[in-house]
Symmetry: C2
Subunit: 212 residues, 2 copies
């Protein structure tokens, strides 16, 4: 495989984001996660916090879930709910980022959006409940809910969003080039394994100018 | 991870068996597939061809699907159907093989049977329909059914058997330490990746004799 794009989908707390970030550093390519949210915010005018929440979560209602009929919204977007509109913009942004050059993209159903690219490696990272529970409490602190409830809620939201927009089952191994249990393998070993598999990413060679 | 046992589950035609065999050679450990069938045949007196067919397939009826009530069958096994009886014996044989020492076991729900062993690495190998169709025609020749029908039938049977006896979904990434798309990665690269991940398997150190 001549890999140029790596998408990372992950269970909450599995360390998928850390793996993506370290892999991007190791490969010397851009990393998109929050960066993608900011790009979508610029395109849509939505608050980045709303995009972060709704961009990977269930397409439910809320104060912004109305139909778009106002001026300035392209015709094809009119009548869409806010989450559908967000999905469309997010999809455009991801396709554009992937066209720009080699990168690592975390979350946001990028595996589905880029499924037809022959140069994309799609990864799903998961881990046992105990490993993830310990990790989220260490990284994000305690909350009113138990760590297990937080994990179940967040995974459920990601799964519903993914299934709604892609028609595929979230976490089904056949959707990904490879899936990794980061708890059993270890976060660092996952980075090593992926970096070895991808190998050095060749820089884009500009097309030679043709003599007229 | 200090891996001593590798289980490989696989979609039909994905090359999972080849990967298992090559990995076992590379690691210098025994490989169980047909060997396991023969061991179960010895235990049960069933025809190896029946075990090979029924051991991974749907627990449906047939001329052998009767209850065991005869002499010689342990009390706990009486009243079981032939496929349930086969499952129990197969499970015992797999647990015993794993206790004997490092090895690679292909198929037969070994991932579930050995799920509580901390020294086991569980792998699921899958690939796109085109890759698998080309492969089964090349390896096993044509048949009355299209390659796609053969793949779907065999996968379906394995999935039904797995789900019936384990209560888990076949191919769900969370059941495995890692899953690999052998079509995208390549069969040889899958062997390299697994051999790197497992590393050299240490020989069993016999317990020192204690002086009386």
């Amino acid at each position: 495989m001549d890999v140029r794009i790596i998408t990372i989908s992950r269970e909450f707390g599995s360390g998928g984001r850390t793996i993506g970030k370290k892999l991007a550093e190791r490969l010397g390519v851009p990393y998109y996660d929050k960066e993608l949210v900011n790009e979508v915010a610029l395109e849509t005018g939505f608050d980045p916090r709303y995009i972060e929440e709704a961009g990977e979560h269930a397409p439910i209602g809320g104060r912004l879930a109305y139909a778009f009929n106002m001026q300035g919204v392209p015709g094809i977007m009119r009548g869409l709910s806010a989450t559908d509109f967000l999905w469309c913009i997010q999809r455009e942004v991801i396709l554009r980022i992937a066209d720009k050059g080699p990168c690592v993209i975390v979350g946001r159903s990028a595996d589905y959006i880029l499924k037809d690219r022959k140069d994309a490696l799609h990864v799903f990272v998961h881990a046992d409940m105990d490993f993830r529970a310990e990790r989220i409490v260490r990284l994000y602190g305690q909350s009113e809910k138990t760590p297990e409830q937080r994990l179940r809620d967040k995974d459920k939201k990601r799964a519903v969003n993914y299934e709604h927009y892609t028609g595929r089952e979230w976490g089904r191994s056949q959707n990904y080039t490879l899936t990794l249990n980061s708890g059993a393998i270890g976060v660092e070993r996952c980075v090593d394994l992926l970096a070895d598999l991808v190998g050095p990413i060749k820089a884009e060679t500009p097309a030679p100018e043709t003599a007229q």
